[in-house]
Amino acid sequence: MKDDLIKQTEKNVINEQKYRDGIPQLLVGVFLVITMLMMMNGRGNLFVIFIPMIPLLMEGLRKRITYPRVGYAQMKERGPRRQVLIWLVLAVLIAGAVVFMLSRGNSLTLVQSRQIHFFAMHAVALIVVGLSVVFLSRNPRTIFIWYALAIIIFVNAVLFFRLEKDAVYWILLGFGVLHIIYGAISLITFLRKYPVLKDEQ
């Protein structure tokens, strides 16, 4: 109770520093779209190379767009729970990449190959959704994304039993486009709302 003001201030600062500019949503959207397009063209295992690029791109864009407007603040270190979540997602990611590599082997029968492809399709879908959650989980304004995620998981489950080929890719492609639209709107609003401030002369 007594720390309400401090907690609220911290929440507002985190929101302003990390999410209000729409850059994470834009990058997650681009990542989803590129990954899904690659998957649909049979080059899904290459999507891992985009993952290390996301934080670099994000920091580069923030230096040019965000920090001159709202300033730069290094946030306090978070608890171990978040670190564990990130490592867990990375572990699943690596496992997914290994499965993809194996699925390209010639020694497999057609049925085995299809089964691995199907498993990999859902594994990758879960990975990208997991990554989206990691990037966007602390943004109170994107609560509707949680609903969207719930719908995707539901649709995914239905499709899992019907064995629709590539259906998950299309759903996540649409999800990526939604992220890009939302990110772009947030970015435009941010640029209009916050003018560039100069450092001390």
């Binding site: 201030t9 600062v13 407007r69 300033g71 290094q74 946030m75 306090k76 270190e77 401030l197």
Partner: protein
């Protein structure tokens, strides 16, 4: 109000750190408390103070050892980073407790 309670309130007033109690400096301390460190633009944006005004308040806080100011150059442009020291962090927490105690005393009186 009994004389005992009056004494208690007076003691609480004595405990308040006047350096932090000034609204602009309290605002600066609050926004530095929730981060590890921040630049000058962050404080200008969050507090709404002018650059000159902010500089004066930061100097006072620095003189008392509450903040640490680090100057650097980024792409040949001056860049100022400000961090709340451990002393400043403790002082802010003590101030918060003092104010809460004082308000509690006033409410109970």
């Amino acid at each position: 109000m009994s004389s005992e309670e009056r004494i208690s309130t007076e003691i609480s007033f004595e405990e308040i750190d006047r350096l932090i109690h000034e609204p602009a400096r309290l605002n600066i301390m609050l926004y530095l408390y929730v981060v590890e460190k921040a630049d000058f633009v962050y404080l200008v944006h969050q507090t709404g103070l002018t650059r000159g005004n902010l500089s004066v308040h930061l100097q006072k806080l620095e003189q008392n050892g509450y903040v640490e100011i680090m100057k650097e150059f980024v792409n040949r442009m001056p860049h100022t980073l400000i961090r709340l020291t451990q002393r400043g962090r403790t002082a802010f927490e003590d101030y918060r407790d003092s104010i809460l105690n004082l308000l509690r005393t006033v409410k109970d009186a």
